[in-house]
Point group: C2
Chain length 412, copies 2
């Protein structure tokens, strides 16, 4: 008898018919002889409605206000947990809902984006041992001083993985509206293949780079606690994608996927004095303004008279672009730059794979492939298991398909 955690997202529990469908899936897991803990999101749309009400009465300026936000918004998952317990009992599966305060499921007190601290499993295990399926609302916790918290958008994935870790579950199945993790976005790259397995590290890069299948924090947590996470669709019966340790990825592929993000904008600061500390002078104020800078490249310097000058190019989130420009304009006198050039018609394309650790030449293949298609690279950044390039957005689909083919990822 194994213990399985199943997590169902908002579209999987969008209405009462879908909830009944979820109950049947849970039942089939129970009928295999497994103990099951189910983590549920709010019915899709519910959380948005609740947030709308909150915004109508408050601008959430203080921590106390954020705490009340969490009281309101966490109610969506509470509703689903009760409804699913009922739907299970209606098909003769004994089930009970347990809210965060009933476990308890502790988090810190960073309301609206709380981090899980500790899950007491006593009451939960007792219920499982009585033969009950336990339905736990995702996304929510309580502080040690008994205030309700929420874990931030997508926090239910993290709840599921954290429960699986705390219970030392055999597996955490995350049901969503896609069938798993693909080598690239199937809407763009028609030859994209579903991956049977993917290493945690790869999934981290895929998640942070825009493959919105799993919340990044849940992948981090899975990696940290070695939780075997399966991503699969609640609307089909096909096997999904399993997140595992690097060694367990049987298929000895070099590159796992080609992913992208349209969310970034490029900023170039030209004609700045090329002197020690200039980077800190630019990026310090941006960090102070809580603007996340992603890719950075500094041109080689050119001399002009006695002085040397350079250009600095970097990317920020598109939504932060205006804020970044204000910061930089305020620095005009101090930095003495020539001009600010921005471009928000850009996209970031990345190839990801643990094979990069041991194989050279993988970056070269990316540059060559893009060059052959006449695609200019604006900025390059690399990590141990990924290479990212910034290109003009209009070439995005072309680049994705070319790279997918070049790295041998196309479906046979």
């Amino acid at each position: 008898m194994a213990l399985i955690v199943q997590k169902f997202g908002g579209t999987s529990v969008a209405n009462t018919d879908n909830i009944k469908n979820v109950a049947r899936r849970v039942k089939s897991e129970v009928e295999k002889g497994n103990q099951v803990v189910v983590v549920v999101s709010a019915m899709s749309g519910t959380t948005d409605q609740l947030i709308k009400w909150v915004n109508a009465v408050s601008s959430l300026n203080t921590k106390e206000e954020e705490a009340e936000h969490d009281v309101v918004v966490s109610s969506g998952e509470q509703v689903t947990s009760g409804l699913l317990a009922l739907a299970l009992r209606a098909i003769d599966v004994p089930a009970i809902s347990m809210q965060a305060w009933q476990l308890p499921f502790y988090s810190d007190d960073m309301f609206r984006k709380a981090r899980i601290e500790d899950i007491e499993t006593g009451a939960l295990t007792d219920a499982l041992n009585k033969g009950l399926v336990v339905v736990v609302p995702g996304f929510q916790g309580i502080t040690r001083s008994k205030r309700v918290t929420t874990l931030g958008r997508g926090g239910s994935d993290t709840s599921g993985v954290a429960l699986a870790a705390a219970l030392k579950a055999e597996r955490c199945d995350i049901y969503t509206d896609v069938e798993g993790v693909y080598t690239s976005d199937p809407r763009v790259v028609t030859k994209a293949r579903k991956l049977r397995k993917i290493a945690y590290e790869e999934m981290m890069e895929m998640a942070s780079l825009g493959a919105k299948v799993l919340q990044l924090r849940s992948v981090e947590m899975a990696m940290k606690h070695k939780v075997r996470v399966q991503v699969l669709s609640s609307f089909s019966d096909k096997p999904g994608t399993l997140l595992v340790d690097e060694e367990e990825v049987m298929e000895r592929r070099l590159i796992t996927g080609v992913t992208y993000s349209r969310g970034e904008a490029q900023v170039t600061v030209t004609g700045i004095p090329d002197k020690p500390g200039i980077a800190a002078e630019i990026f310090g104020p941006l960090a102070d303004a809580e603007i996340n800078v992603d890719m950075i490249v500094q041109n080689i310097s050119e001399a002009s008279g006695n002085e040397k000058f350079t250009d600095m190019t970097f990317t920020v989130g598109k939504t932060d672009l205006d804020k970044a420009l204000s910061s930089l304009k305020a620095l005009k006198d101090k930095l003495k730059y020539r001009e600010l050039i921005t471009n928000d018609q850009v996209a970031k394309v990345s190839v990801v794979g643990v094979g990069m650790r041991s194989h050279a030449g993988l970056a070269q293949k990316m540059f060559k492939t893009l060059a052959e298609k006449g695609i200019n690279i604006h900025v390059i950044s690399t990590s141990e298991i990924k290479i990212s390039v910034l290109i003009s957005e209009e070439y995005l689909e072309l680049a994705l398909r070319a790279l997918h083919t070049a790295y041998g990822l196309d479906e046979k």
Copy 2:
């Protein structure tokens, strides 16, 4: 500095604008220097939506299922409590929401219609002493084994009165969509007057007889714990009606109000043997079927040969009529009655007043007034402080107005 409990019903918190309006009312109480605990219902419509979802997935056959019903349905009040705390903070009134589990607010485990057992006031008093307004969701409690309960429809009134009793509050103000308790239904009797004060016992009769201002249980609880309850409108600034001890009703009126109910149906069982135990034979099975019988009248018997026969007339709730008839038909062989006659075009009219305890002739005035208008009385029942008659529904409005005038209740 006094401690006031304010309770706001569903229409008072129907939307975010109304919630802001409630926040202003709470603020004005705080500005008088009072400590305030606020009890809120769900936003109107919310509870119905939640119940609809529950019914879509479950037929609630077991106690465990009723417990899950309560998990789902109690979320409506949770949402309002958080929203009101936010709306209060937005106008600079420090406030905090506290759910039943956070107090705790204990009830028995009769899910869906739980009875309040004990309210721990420690955490609540601490918060009040920190200068916070505490917003508590009405309608909900928890059992000693930490399961969520709900108190039944209208349970929020009872929550408010129970909190006022536990905290020994100066007053419990129940805000609703009417301006108080009237001598009769103002929609029918245009000369009806708002009562400044009413005795608990009178309010009990008024509540149970159809003046749907306050839930009966809340009045019982107020009477038991001597809580001064004020009923008033959240949409006006006029004073409401205060529920007090009988001795405190200053105005020495005899009759307080004329009230009515359309919810009953009349059943007559004719030609039953007039022998000891016949009433038990009829009403036992009805009680077993959980059918509430209200008024009962037994005709004088008539002889036929060696045997004596009688008719029995009584009323049941209209919604129970079919069930009652099935029960009685099943008894046909045993009771040997002649026939069953039913009439659901009836209404019950009652006059209520503590003055009846000490004054004779008040019933006679009722019979005379109705006779003068040519209104036939089907059944009569009385208690210490009320007289009720069953009449044809078509005469209802006429009867109410005539009695209101006859007892000197008309507005001057």
